[in-house]
């Protein structure tokens, strides 16, 4: 019996992770800028206000110059072209992510803002490519490989051995064009800039879609009550209080998720059979209205940071007269990296999302939700 158990000792099943932390933007060690900028591939952004915003207010404060991106069929040799490196990688902030059937079954290529080309390849492609990489940390062992090429390295100059090898590989073994989402941002003005592509790439310019929704008569928890309670108890190191804060924070995150879904369970006059749902918002709550602003597309993190800053400004000046504001960001599920170039993959869910809950005094609670196959939190 004992030997049997030994033979079948399976590794523990992985779990999705939710990291919760709190800090204040006034602190010098605050990570909010880092968290936003190190998360390169953002699919959707949402702002939640527990009040009604008129369309005029929205226009004034959150609709800046439209930011856009391109969808184009790009062969990999385009990225190592010297003109591309000089005009885009060195001249600003360029990001690209290939769209695929899924990172667990096909090839995904991405270019992040630091100029690192990351190729997350299937074994079959890797064995044809000819560039050395590392086996992926996730999935069946040695069935996926990750190749990283730093385009800003000194050796990436035509004529040098390494460069010529990469060029040969992209021109002879992996000549396929991948459908890419690509955006280019000016570092100083944080605005989307035009890119030029050869006509064979079939490039399409796409705008980031902006929508706003009004949520009438929903149950809104008084979140600031909770954080205040927590602030008072910060001094005495009571484990019980900490656990309470934890469960409160998780309950709020649940509620935030339901708001994003525009769930009917949040309506004040909702009458649902308790057999189906027993949900009630975290207490204390009261009836109110909310506004949801949503951007969908390939959103550069520099733009998220500028919106974060304008939100912070608004709430500190108390222009909107709201107790808190929430920013939700969803990363691409098939992104090969989550934060800080840490490997990311898709198993049951490829989530790499984060949310900021911001209070008028500049303090915030940060939620980072990560799928099972992610190296960031380990």
């Amino acid at each position: 019996m004992y030997t049997l158990l030994m033979a079948f000792s399976l590794p523990e099943p992985g779990k999705s992770k939710l990291l919760i932390s709190k800090s204040t933007t006034k602190s010098q060690n605050s990570r909010h800028e880092k968290i936003i900028l190190e998360h390169p591939f953002n699919h959707q952004m949402e702002l939640l206000f527990p009040t009604v915003l008129s369309s005029q207010q929205i226009m004034d404060q959150f609709s800046k110059d439209p930011f856009f991106f391109y969808k184009a069929n790009i062969p990999l040799s385009y990225f190592i072209d010297r003109t591309f490196i000089n005009t885009y990688v060195k001249g600003g902030c360029v990001r690209a992510l290939s769209l695929s059937e899924g990172i667990d079954i096909s090839n995904v290529i991405s270019l992040d803002e630091s100029g690192t080309l990351i190729l997350n390849l299937t074994k079959d492609t890797y064995e044809q490519l000819g560039l050395t990489g590392k086996p992926s940390k996730y999935g069946t062992s040695r069935q996926r490989f990750v190749v990283q090429i730093n385009l800003l390295e000194k050796s990436m100059i035509p004529g040098k051995k390494g460069y010529e090898r990469v060029k040969w590989c992209f021109e002879n073994s992996l000549t396929e064009s991948f459908p890419f989402l690509i955006s280019f941002i000016d570092i100083i003005s944080h605005e989307s800039k035009e890119m030029k592509f050869p006509s064979t790439f079939n490039a399409k310019k796409l705008n980031v879609e902006q929508n706003s929704f009004l949520l009438n008569d929903i149950l809104i928890p008084e979140i600031s009550e909770m954080i205040k309670m927590n602030n008072n108890n910060n001094n005495n190191d009571n484990k019980k209080e900490e656990n309470k804060w934890k469960s409160d924070a998780i309950e709020i995150y649940d509620w935030l998720g339901l708001v994003s879904l525009k769930s009917q369970r949040l309506l004040a006059y909702d009458q649902i059979d308790p057999y189906i749902s027993l949900y009630s918002p975290p207490e204390p709550y009261k009836m109110g209205d909310g506004t949801l602003l949503r951007w969908t597309g390939f959103i550069p993190s520099a733009i998220i940071l500028s919106i974060f800053k304008s939100v912070l400004e608004q709430i500190e000046k108390n222009n909107l007269n709201v107790p808190w504001i929430v920013i939700n960001i969803w990363g691409f599920k098939d992104s090969p990296i989550s934060w800080n170039k840490q490997e990311h993959n898709h198993f049951m869910s490829g989530e790499n999302n984060y949310s900021f809950l911001i209070w008028p005094d500049g303090s915030y609670t940060l939620y980072q939700a990560l799928g099972e196959y992610d190296n960031y939190s380990i």
Partner: protein, 230 residues
């Protein structure tokens, strides 16, 4: 020389007095009558129908061309001689020490092996003939690959991919390719896929399946084996 046997004697001998005194040998009357007829008959019968003779005497029969030994004494002698002549074979260690199978560095030149490649192409053309692709593949399996221009198209090791060169030595587990920049590259057959071009066709060799010495490969009976993984 053989022509000179029946030529007439030189004139000075013919004119010599001894020759004139020479008499013809005495032959009996019966012989004189019998011999010319007999000779003529026997010649005629053999020249009459060579096909018939071939059918009756040669067809389907094994004929030993060698001169067989008849007595046991002679056999013993020859066996003794053979024993003395027994070939001395180098041991593996000696082969290694003398580097007999190693190609000296001064011969690592691509140009040196271009004629070998041309020869190989001729050989392939001959081998191909008019055979159908399926038959040709069977032939390829047993063909000699010395002189083939191989390219590594797939490999578990990334740095082997894309190496192109003339195969100048085949061992059980290696192909040794000489590249255009005059470098000798040893590529393991396992975990690699090789391609080569013949006229308009591209052929792919799965190295994993060819892990035999070229000599044993030529006589081996191959069984179908799926290629699961590189």
């Amino acid at each position: 020389m053989s022509n000179n046997v029946y030529s007439s004697l030189p004139k000075d001998i013919q004119d010599s007095p001894e020759a004139k005194n020479e008499r013809q040998p005495p032959v009996s009357e019966t012989t004189k009558k019998f011999v010319p007829n007999f000779v003529l008959n026997s010649i005629e019968s053999s020249t009459k129908d060579p096909a018939k003779i071939y059918v009756s005497k040669l067809k389907g029969k094994v004929i030993l061309l060698d001169n067989p030994l008849k007595t046991s004494e002679e056999k013993k002698k020859r066996i003794k001689l053979q024993k003395k002549k027994k070939v001395k074979v180098m041991s593996a260690k000696e082969k290694k020490e003398t580097k007999i199978y190693e190609i000296p560095e001064e011969c690592h030149k691509y140009d040196l092996f271009i004629p070998l490649n041309e020869l190989w192409l001729q050989y392939m053309e001959e081998l191909h003939g008019n055979s159908s692709p399926a038959v040709f593949v069977q032939k390829l399996l047993k063909a000699d690959f010395h002189g083939a221009l191989f390219t590594v198209s797939k490999s578990r090791c990334a740095s082997y991919i894309g190496i192109t060169g003339i195969n100048i030595q085949e061992t059980e587990n290696m192909f040794k390719l000489i590249t255009k920049d005059n470098k000798l590259k040893s590529i393991p057959k396992g975990h690699s896929v090789f391609t080569f071009q013949l006229k308009d066709y591209m052929f792919t060799l799965y190295g994993e399946q060819l892990r035999f010495r070229s000599a044993t490969r030529a006589t081996k009976k191959f069984k179908n084996k799926p290629n699961i993984d590189l």
